[in-house]
């Protein structure tokens, strides 16, 4: 079963008296346990599409199904709970909570998912070890470099064992060397945790790592490359 299915999705923003279509007739399926990259020029609708997949925005038209759930039918609270247990987020600006230590940041989504304390501790330790930042567990985000912060963000996104991790331009604020290391780490984590990663990125290195690549332009899907199967499908 696909982890995400988008049927005839449209998203229109109303700016004053003008309707601006951000996404038009999007049909997309995100395969499970794949590294999917959404690519396209600025303003093409990558972030909007990612927001809809991440259930943090509502489409104007169409149907969004994530992990088998038609998310538009869920109440706000149910949608919050759904995100807490099924979706992890990695942000361009890391968006770590500055008042929490590294381990507390990773633990926070587990609290939201009501994971028992012993299990929380175990998962936090494992994840910090896996992303190579266990020695900074007691540090605050302000004491870390950009690359380290993004490692924490990856651990945090994976903490509740989600089915889907979304990353909006995760390497945009990192230098190329660190960015490559982060992509490599995410790829490793994706394989290890058997989770679907969906990125928005212009970065050719990210595109090169992708199992599936979705090209988007002017709010429409231009092309989808299924590289693992070497399948190329028109939208």
């Amino acid at each position: 079963m696909n982890v995400v299915t988008l049927n005839q999705i449209g998203k229109t923003y109303h700016l004053d008296a003008v309707d601006v279509p951000a996404l038009v007739d999007i049909d997309l399926e995100i395969r499970p346990n794949c590294f999917t990259v959404i690519s396209g020029p600025s303003g093409s609708g990558k972030t909007t599409l990612l927001n809809l997949i991440g259930c943090i925005d509502q489409p104007s038209r169409g149907e969004v199904i994530v992990a088998g759930e038609a998310v538009q039918k869920l109440s706000d609270d149910a949608l919050s709970d759904f995100r807490a247990s099924h979706i992890g987020f990695i942000f361009q600006n890391f968006n770590l909570l500055p008042v929490l230590t590294v381990e507390e940041n990773v633990e926070y989504p587990l609290l939201l998912a009501r994971v028992p304390a012993a299990e929380r501790r175990r998962r936090v330790e494992d994840l910090l070890e896996a992303v190579g930042i266990a020695d900074k567990a007691r540090n605050f985000p302000g004491q870390l470099s950009g690359g380290e912060r993004q490692r924490v963000a990856i651990a945090r996104a994976l903490a509740p064992s989600p089915k889907l991790v979304l990353a909006d331009e995760p390497t945009a604020n990192l230098d190329s060397h660190t960015g490559a290391a982060i992509i490599s780490l995410m790829r490793e984590m994706q394989r290890e945790h058997q989770v679907s990663f969906v990125f928005s990125s212009h970065d050719p290195k990210v595109l090169a790592e992708a199992d599936d690549a979705v090209m988007i332009r002017d709010g429409r899907i231009e092309k989808i490359e299924r590289r693992e199967t070497q399948a190329e499908a028109a939208p």
């Binding site: 927001n51 925005d57 706000d76 919050s80 500055p98 929490l100 926070y108 609290l111």
Partner: protein, 462 residues
């Protein structure tokens, strides 16, 4: 990492702003509580003063309170000693009682006929030993020490008069009254210094010869039959009374002397039986028991009970006035705290918009966001209230040890200016809880706004 822990860390994140907000709350709490302690001290001082002088309750003949002050002889309690005995030996009342004593209020004309001056007076007949015990009542440990009555150990014809009476009757010199202006006499009608009939009445009294420097007055009062009666009395001391009107009219005397003036050789009566209780809080229970006794054991005479608040309306007015000022200040400071904390929380919401978006994206419900900001405000409120209470105790200690004095309304001598906050648990807790509540309420709108943000808009916020 519960909500309160996160809230506390968020408060510490912007220490300067949190401290400024806390400072506003502390100043507000100190202002409210110091004024509350000051007004509490005044009301307790007034209460103590009234209870020392007039007891908590008075049993009077029915309607004496309304109609009897002008004709006390007609509203006496005939068998007052039995009333005292019943009350003093009642198993319910006895444990509450501090003093039970009869008293007489009377009106009349006092004259210093030798000087050719007179004036109307209000007299009080007292059992001096009982009154001295009443003067020691001090439930609240206030720095009030009334000395024993000047009538203590004096002969039955001794009286204490108000400074104003001494002034008008030109007795300041023999009574050594300080700051007593001398009267510049206008031309007075020639003739005897007192009417002949009054002089004759006074002569009937076994009047001791006035020794040099002795202050004697003649007191004319209507007896129980409406006939004039005169007593020749020896003023032993002039004491300033709290209110000028009272100071100009007061004469205190032994109960027996007052009874003889009003009732002559007939069976003496009293216009009231004064009850001083151990604690003011016992008034309702004592009144209830007295009502039972008046309806059963003491139903032979039409009696009623008045408490000190009814007898001294100024007390209720003063308490009401201070309560109104306290309430006004509390509302004003509450409003300041409301806007201060509200502003702090609004700024926090704006600054942490992206963080709010992140938390929501991770799955924190709207109620969780609301709870987070409300918790921050609650913590601010609780810390501010606790610091305010602590600061109030310090300020109160400083004031109470600064040796300041003031003259409360209706009092004779200056009393120490004190702020009564220690032990006033309900006031302290009430103010602290009120401030914490105001802080939480003030965060409600910013918290609601934060909770209702669109996640994508919040995440885009820079």
């Amino acid at each position: 990492m519960r909500t309160l822990s996160l809230a506390l860390r968020n408060l510490l994140r912007n220490r300067r702003r949190s401290l400024t907000t806390l400072l506003a709350m502390v100043i507000g709490a100190v202002t409210i509580l110091v004024f509350g302690g000051y007004s509490r001290n005044i009301t307790l001082s007034l209460q103590t003063s009234y209870v020392m002088r007039g007891g908590h309750l008075q049993i009077q003949r029915k309607d004496y309170f309304l109609f009897g002050s002008g004709n006390p002889a007609a509203y006496g309690i005939a068998d007052y000693q039995r009333v005292i005995d019943v009350v003093a030996h009642d198993p319910v009342l006895a444990p509450m009682l501090s003093v039970v004593t009869p008293t007489i209020s009377l009106g009349g004309i006092a004259g210093n006929f030798a000087a050719g001056v007179s004036r109307t007076i209000i007299g009080a007949g007292l059992v001096v030993a009982d009154r001295n015990r009443m003067r020691r009542w001090n439930e609240y440990d206030l720095p009030i020490n009334l000395p024993p009555s000047a009538l203590t150990g004096t002969a039955e014809d001794a009286v204490v008069i108000g400074n104003g009476v001494a002034r008008v009757l030109e007795l300041c010199q023999p009574l050594a009254v300080a700051n007593c202006p001398q009267h510049t006499k206008a031309e007075v009608a020639a003739g005897a210094s007192a009417p002949a009939d009054v002089t004759a009445l006074a002569a009937l009294e076994a009047r001791p010869a006035a020794s040099p420097g002795e202050a004697r007055i003649e007191l004319l009062a209507a007896n129980v039959h409406g006939a004039p009666n005169v007593a020749s009395l020896r003023a032993v001391k002039a004491e300033r009374q709290g209110f000028k009107e009272f100071d100009d009219m007061f004469i205190g005397m032994h109960l027996a002397q007052a009874q003889r003036l009003l009732y002559g050789s007939e069976k003496p009566q009293a216009t009231a039986v004064v009850l001083q209780l151990a604690h003011t809080g016992q008034i309702p229970a004592a009144k209830a028991r007295l009502a039972e006794l008046l309806a059963t054991t003491l139903k032979g005479e039409p009696l009623e009970v008045q408490d000190f608040e009814a007898l001294n309306p100024f007390y209720g007015q003063a308490v009401g006035m201070f309560a109104a000022i306290f309430g006004f200040m509390a509302v004003l400071i509450g409003a300041i705290v409301l806007f201060t904390v509200g502003n702090t929380m609004s700024m926090a919401v704006i600054e942490r918009t992206a963080e709010i978006g992140t938390l929501r994206a991770m799955g924190l419900r709207r109620s969780g966001i609301r709870r987070l900001f409300m918790s921050e405000a609650l913590l601010l409120g609780l810390i501010g209230a606790a610091a305010g209470v602590a600061a109030t105790l310090c300020v109160a200690w400083l004031v109470n040890h600064a040796g300041l004095t003031w003259l409360p309304p209706g009092q004779v001598d200056p009393v120490p200016l004190t702020v009564r906050v220690w032990g006033e648990t309900s006031m302290m807790l009430g103010t602290a809880a009120g401030l914490a509540l105001v802080a939480v309420v003030s965060a409600w709108w910013p918290a609601r706004r934060a909770a209702r943000m669109l996640i994508v808009d919040a995440l885009r916020h820079v």
